[in-house]
Structures are given as structure tokens and as C-alpha cells.
Symmetry: none
Subunit: 135 residues, 4 copies
DNA sequence: GTGGTCTAGACCACC
DNA sequence: GTGGTCTAGACCACA
């Protein structure tokens, strides 16, 4: 049971984004990309908490909210697993849906700054290339 | 002197973003677009507070932080004005700089979701068109 | 957990200098002298407020500004701690830097009064000795 | 009557020090150094206000406070003049007295920073020399 | 438990 | 008139 949690989650301690939100987003992403399949178990609250050095309450909160959203399912005595109904396999639509809110923000901010779609698209391309080079 | 504040600021009461942050961002945007020029006075704390129906302290906090950042200058007994050194006229580079952090987020999230630049660009275009239609 | 705050801060109720400024200066001084080391937690806002009998918001303002300046770091749910990058150990240079502005004032005022360096130095020595005797 | 005010006063618009305080200090300094002698008239409120481009109320406030302190005397229909009883000629003691509060501040701050008199004196000497070079 | 944000209302210094 | 500071007390997000 070594490093099982760290395989799934990487938290950026001080990125402004709440830790529980980071956990939630990453589970969703893994489900959307198919890295986590329906029926599969997630590492336990304690395990995640220990490995990521965060408060167990924080992990628990993330799992609870995911359960309420219908992404996870509580299997008594065994832990949390990906819900059967959950986006099977690699669902492109679901992944795209996760991008939409952020892209809307981009449109709004660009309008405020009077930057047209072409200009923004060009900037986005440049940033993408630069990031790719860094890797 | 009617509605001077409302011409500059529109706050989204409960968007999660703190009011004082919204004010700060909007002043910066107006400076970047040239809507507010160096030397120009901002509406007084009390005026903004009254028109937007927020607490004067909230506005004051925004102005103070903008002063600390060097965007505003305090003219004693007269109010706050745009600092002379501040981005004069309509500075395209400065406006673009304000877009960068958001676009970086897009790149990161897209990578997590294994969405390529073409796909994201297409999505962005669609959202942009849809937003335009709504107006 | 008694008097933790009073060990770090002593405010001069009505010295003209705003309370939040006094707090800021004292944190900086403690960091510069090494009394507060990187990673160390400061007493909580509420604790300081209670012990010094000032409003929590006043303490909060001081802490926030120190965070903006990069001296403190906000550990969510745990409090404020000295930022890792902050002047480690006992940094003589940093302490001296804090003296410079005041000494510049001395030079300016002395020039206005046509008082030479020797005279001022002698006066400073006398005052120092007198203060020492009082203790 | 050209530039009479500017010969006596130089205000640093945004030095943090209130304008009326700067005016008061400078009158006192000029009296202490003998640049302004008892019986001599100061430039009128309007003249000072116009030449320094400050609000007449501000100049008036400075003059009033100086009158209350016994430095100035109001000569009806002629303006403000240096009070007869005021420090005659070049009073060294009076000039030194004006330095004391600032030097006390130096001692206090130095103690807080654990900087000894020798070190501070050396720093003061250096700053003095540097300032002299700049002129 | 932690700090962050906001409100309502007061007083002050400055112009 | 301007902003700056402080208080008292409330609610929220996060760990």
C-alpha cells in the first residue's frame, strides 16, 4: 500500500485553491480520462491523509462531496469506490464540460480588456507552446 | 455628479469574488484600457459606497491596496487619483499581461484532461460566439 | 498559552502611529533579530486581539499586509507563519537596513538646522547614555 | 514680490509629513538659525499659497498654530511677523532642542534592533558623507 | 480551531 | 470635502 494516494493526487499546498477542491477535481479528472474506472476503489481517507500530509477531515470532506455528487459510492467496510453509473471509460463530452467554465471566464475577461478572439487564440497558442517546451 | 461610480464599477454581489477584489480588478482594467488616465480622480470612497450600496470600508480597502500597489496616488484632502507613472494611454501589452495567468490555467487544465490545443481553441471559439449572440 | 502575544508585541496606545503599523514593525523587527524564525507560527489574530485589547480586525489587517509584503505566509486553518524565504537567522544587514531611513531623516534635519556631524554625534551619544541610565 | 515664499519654504508634496507641519517646522528652523529675525514679516497667506500651490487654508492653519505657540505675532492689516520675544539671533540651544526628539527615536529603534551606539554612529557618518557627495 | 470579508457607525487628520 | 483608523459584531471558508 505504498504511495497509492500519491499516484492519484498531487496537491499544490499554497495555490490558493482549497485542498478539498483539488482532490475533488482530480478524482473527476481521473474518472473522465478513464484512469479510474467504475467499481474501482479509492485509497482510504487515512492513507491519502497520511501520504499527502493533509488533515483527514479534508480528505473526508472531498469524498463526501463526491458521494453527494454521485461520482463515488460508499461500500460499507471497504471504502469509497467509483460509482457504477459514473461516466464509463473515456468520456470526451464529460472532459470538455470541465473546460467550459474556465473558457467562459476567459471570454468575459477578454471582453473587459477589449481583446478579440483572434488575439486571445494567438496568445493561448503561444503559451501552450512555451509550456510544452518546458517539459 | 450622478452615477459617476456606477460608470466605473459594477459589482457582482455574490460571485464568490470579494467585493474589494472586484473593485481593484476593475480599476486596473480601466487603467489598462485607458478609460482612466493618469492624474484623473476616482469617485470618492463615500460616493462609490453610496451608489454601489456597499460599506465605505470595503471601498476604502480597495483604494488603499491599489495605492500600496502603486496604481493610485493619495492626494490629501482631495481624494485618490491615478498615479502619474501608471501605464499611460492604452497599453496593449499591459492588457495582454492581465490575460496570461488565466490562459495558463487553461493550458494546465486542458493537459490534465488530455485535451489538445486545437480542440480547446475550437471550444473557445464556440463559447465566444454563443456569448456574442446573447448580447 | 499564556501571554504569548504580549511576549511579541507591545503597543503604545496613543503614539500617533497606527496600531496595525506598530504590529507590522514589530513583526519585522523580530524576524530581523531572529526572535521569530521562518516556519514559526505567530499567535492567532484572536489571541493577540484579546491580550492587547484591540480589535481583531486591526490585528488581521497587520497580518494581511505582512502577507502581501511576503513576510508572513498563510497556512489555511492553522494560522500565520513566518515565510520560509524570509530573512533566516539573525541578519545584521537587514537590521541595519531598517535603521537607514531614520538616519537619513537625522541628516536632513541637521542640515536644515546647520548642525554638523560632530555635534549631532555628540548629542546622540549623550541621549544614548541618558536613556541607558534610566533603565 | 516674486518668489518671496519659495525663498522660505520648500514643501515635499508627498513625503507623508502634512504640509502645514512642514511649514511650521520650516518657520521655526528659520527663526532658530536667524534667517528670520524678530519683527520681520512673513509672506502673506495668499502669496505663500499661490507660489507653493497649496490651499490657503493650509497656510493659514500653519500661521495660526505658530501664533498660538508664540512664534508669530499678528500685526493687523500688515500680516504675520516674527514675535519680538522669539529666540533672538542664532540660538544654538534652540536648534539642538529641535534635534532631540528625532535622536531619541534613533536610540529606541536601535535598541529594538540590538544595534550598539558605535555601529549606529558609524552608519550615520556613512550616510552623512554619501548625502554630502550627492550635492 | 484558523483567517477573510463585510457591515454599521464613530472619530481623526488633512485640505 | 477627502481618506485613515478603529471598534463591535456577524458570517463564511478552510483544516
Amino acid at each position: 500500500m505504498t504511495d497509492k494516494a500519491r499516484a492519484y493526487f498531487q496537491i499544490a499546498a499554497s495555490s490558493g485553491v482549497p485542498i478539498y477542491r483539488q482532490l475533488i477535481d482530480q478524482v473527476k479528472t481521473h474518472v473522465a480520462t478513464g484512469a479510474l474506472k467504475p467499481g474501482e476503489f479509492l485509497p482510504s481517507v487515512r492513507q491519502v491523509a497520511a501520504e499527502l500530509e493533509v488533515n483527514p477531515m479534508t480528505v473526508s470532506k472531498a469524498y463526501s462531496l463526491l458521494e453527494k455528487e454521485g461520482v463515488l459510492e460508499f461500500a460499507r467496510g471497504q471504502g469509497m469506490k467509483i460509482r457504477e453509473g459514473s461516466a464509463s471509460g473515456d468520456d470526451l463530452t464529460k472532459r470538455e464540460d470541465q473546460m467550459v467554465p474556465l473558457l467562459k471566464e476567459v471570454v468575459v475577461k477578454a471582453s473587459q480588456l477589449s481583446l478579440g478572439p483572434e488575439k486571445v487564440t494567438r496568445m493561448l497558442g503561444n503559451i501552450w507552446k512555451r509550456e510544452a517546451d518546458h517539459e
